[in-house]
């Protein structure tokens, strides 16, 4: 089954800030939930892996909780409510980012478009990865570039390999690219294409060759 298809929006019927204040937001700021974070990060880094702190989203969480149409209309018709909602989510996200920073993660990943060091995911369906590299390659690194609306589900394994090779040769030229599909892979991606993705990175991704 595909995910992201069925959504219910728990705040959908709310209009008053007081209702929002009674909602049981996650207790993620509780000590018992984050006290092992630093230990976990150390363990990952001791094993020589790269530790990413995933903060989640702000805008996306807001519409998922309130409904896309209700949120967008709320920006005009119920500003008190949507401000309170966005503030609340932002507070939680800032708390998480702070905890990740203090736990010495290697990177903090936020879903909203505030990226400064790394641009992710660079969907080739709407952005030109080669052009971005040319324009911003001296300021940004790139994470993604393999389309999950095109190449991964609909390409042949040969096509996946060809695109991986091309991205490495262009966007990955002289470094600065973490190669990845532009989103979570769904079951519409043939297993052979998953294998082709990793095989191609192995085959074409060696800078020493």
């Amino acid at each position: 089954m595909y995910h992201f298809i069925k959504r219910v929006h728990p705040l959908n019927k709310m209009t008053n800030v007081s209702e929002l204040q009674n909602y049981p937001f996650p207790d993620i700021c509780s000590e018992y939930r984050c006290k092992y974070l630093k230990e976990d990060v150390e363990k990952i880094q001791t094993q020589n892996y790269f530790a990413t702190g995933a903060v989640g989203h702000i805008f996306e969480t807001a519409w998922q909780m309130y409904g896309m149409d209700t949120l967008l209309m709320g920006f005009i018709t119920n500003q008190d409510f949507v401000s309170a909602l966005l503030d609340k989510i932002t507070d939680i996200r800032c708390f998480m980012a702070d905890k990740y920073a203090k736990a010495d993660t290697d990177m903090i990943h936020l879903g909203d478009d505030v990226g400064v060091d790394v641009l992710n995911p660079i969907q080739p369906e709407c952005m030109n990865p080669v052009q971005l590299k040319k324009q911003y390659g001296d300021k940004l690194s790139f994470w993604g570039t393999i389309g999950t609306q095109t190449t991964m589900p609909f390409g042949t394994p040969e096509e996946v390999k060809r695109v991986v090779k091309e991205r490495i040769e262009t966007v990955g030229k002289n470094g600065g690219l973490v190669l990845a599909p532009t989103h979570t892979l769904e079951p519409d991606v043939p297993w052979e294409n998953v294998l082709a993705f990793f095989e191609a990175v192995e085959e074409y991704g060696n800078y020493a060759k």
């Binding site: 990952i44 020589n48 990740y100 973490v178």
Partner: protein
């Protein structure tokens, strides 16, 4: 070069030994992954460089039914909170999923 150095070098816009890579699996594709590989850990199986430390799961059990009043038409049941992003619909007369 270690996997961590490989990503750090990449994010510094310099050339590592190899291109680092990552792919995430949706729950359904993860099931296929497990069948095909007999592994339960895609990051390890495919030698991905990144790992994701996360906050521990919540210990709270909250019935969210009053907030999730939108069960499929004609269905009755309740929605149980099992941790961040994990709300299970328990629809009357059907096994939970």
């Amino acid at each position: 070069m270690t996997p961590r150095e490989r990503v750090l070098t990449t994010l510094a816009r310099q050339k590592p030994d190899k291109v680092p890579k990552e792919a995430g699996f949706s729950p359904a594709l993860y099931e296929i992954f497990k069948q095909k590989t007999n592994s339960i850990e895609p990051n390890e199986y495919f030698n991905m460089e990144t790992r994701y430390p996360f906050f521990k799961d919540t210990t709270r059990k909250i019935d969210f039914s009053k907030y999730y009043g939108q069960l499929p038409e004609g269905k009755e049941g309740k929605i149980v909170y099992e941790g961040e992003g994990k709300h299970t619909w328990q629809i009357s007369g059907q096994p939970s999923k």
